[in-house]
Amino acid sequence: MTRYFEYQDCDWARLETDWRAWWDGKSDRPIVTIVTHDPGTFPESGDDFLTRFPLEKPAEEIIDYFEQVLQRTHFYGDACPKWWVNFGAGVIAAFLGSDVEYSTGTTWFKPVPVESLADLHPEYDPDNIWWRRAQDITQASIDRWAGKLVVAYTDLGGNMDILASLRGTQNLLFDCIEAPDEVIRLISEITVLWQRYFDELEAMMPPQQHGRAAWAPPWSPTRGYMLQSDFSYMISPDMFERFVLPDLVTCCETLDYPFYHMDGKGQLPHLDMLLSIDKLRGVQWQPGDGQPLADHWLDVLRKIRESGKLCQVFVTLDGALNIARELGGKGFLFDILDQGRTITPQQVDAFYEELDRIGP
């Protein structure tokens, strides 16, 4: 059983039991997620952004396309079968008026033209074309796969990142020094909107769905999300404390299983503050493009685990084994990279044997 339609009730029960034990700190073993795709599953561009489809293309036809992708997608270990409504990182910017541009490999959200930060007043618009599109595609995927896989929330984004998209990143960097009160006002407004969009998507999830997921690997029994603030890479700990932390705490309070996506070494100065957030359940450490993979950052991983938080990393099979040997596997979520699309079932079996041999 590796493809979504092969999962039976007993498989879902196993996943739920194992993940709950991991969240509750009652499992001595790491969670390991491996998702592979048959060769030729994706287009040459290698991405699956929904922004690359024309807006007039019916949602059902898009779901037909992704049905074919899922037929060739294999879920191993603790990976829960899911399909992610992927409009790009921080799509709330589009819901709030940002123009969207797809280019191979990524989706861009363009700044809203305003003279100053004071002129920016983001508001919920039920008729926004991208918000309606996100809802339509979420609903179509639910109609197709409810109970058979987890329909993962679209990537709403981090509050500061959404503001950076709306304002333009460089403008926001100046604003942090020249108009800090306006930055705080806008972040607070965006937090309220973030909660509203999240709640509305959450309300769409069908009762027969097995748990929740977002773009990142963690599965959760109920409301979970991978929070983020990539903008924080560029700012001081003082600014992080002032502009990012309060709303991060607010978002954590509204979720049952909040995680934080820490992307790049520029965010390491903020790690202590992140680990001090009581309700934050775990940290995903992503060293960033061009950097060694997560198993080369054992001090960072040790610090996260010693704080009592869970830790998720993207690693190779060998990298996961390395972390398990050095730090123990307990409390880790190893999402196994298969960029070359070359992992075989035999390698997966050998990996689990070695992981068992290493022990907790």
Binding site: S103, T104, G105, T106, W108, T169, Q170, L173, F174, C176, I177, E178, M234, I235, S236, M239, G264, P269, G288, D289, G290
Partner: protein, 212 residues
């Protein structure tokens, strides 16, 4: 506090209006533009670079200091042109085709300008031919490319290939930077150098031009 020290301090603190006021006052008092540039603006930006490298400054502080410097430089430029003061070099800079992330590019551009280089800003999403045109038509002697994505960094190689094909590769030094970029990648694609941040990009550019 002497005038040049006031200017340096205002730049380091990102006080553009103060920079403007004191640079103008210095010019009005008869101070040479070159003195203000070499003893005021350039050392101030070098100090900003040092503060960034040591982790005291972050990107916003660096940007706002660079903007203040640029205000002062704007006042000096007519005098520098009149005095035929030559820049240290001429740099064509842009993010590569497909990449719209311009913060790093802008920072490098500002730091180079603050160090005495002339900048030809080709903007974002620059196709290889745009760099070739800059070399052929504007006589730049450094090409600086930035990419934030692994999906776009391959365009750096395309640009170097285009410079080669146009027969101008030997006329310029090529430097690259951006989050996914490493020295190994620079070596692999035949760039002359890589810098991990804006401050070090200045040192790299100076070093490469001095060696040529």
């Amino acid at each position: 506090m002497e005038t040049l020290e006031i200017i340096r301090k205002a730049i380091i603190e990102g006080q553009a209006k103060e920079v403007e006021q004191h640079v103008q006052a210095a010019l009005d008092s008869g101070m040479k533009a070159t003195t203000i540039l070499y003893d005021g603006l350039i050392p101030a930006m070098a100090e900003v670079g040092r503060l960034y490298e040591e982790g005291e400054y972050f990107v916003p502080e660096m940007l706002i200091a660079a903007r203040a410097m640029k205000t002062g430089l704007g006042l000096l430029k007519p005098f520098l042109v009149e005095g035929n003061v030559q820049p240290l070099g001429k740099v064509a800079i842009a993010t590569v085709q497909g990449d719209l992330h311009d913060i790093g590019k802008n920072l490098v551009s500002l730091m180079l300008e603050g160090a005495g280089f002339e900048i030809v800003d080709l903007g974002v999403n620059a196709e290889p031919q745009k760099f070739v045109d800059a070399v052929q038509q504007q006589q730049v002697n450094v090409v600086a490319m930035s990419a934030l994505l692994t999906t776009t960094m391959t365009r750096m190689k395309d640009t170097i290939t285009a410079l080669d094909a146009a027969g101008v590769r030997g006329k310029v030094k090529v430097i690259i930077g951006g989050a996914p970029i490493t020295q190994a990648y620079a070596d692999e694609i035949g760039a002359d150098g890589y810098a991990p941040d804006a401050s070090q990009a200045v040192n790299l550019t100076k070093r490469l031009l001095a060696a040529s």
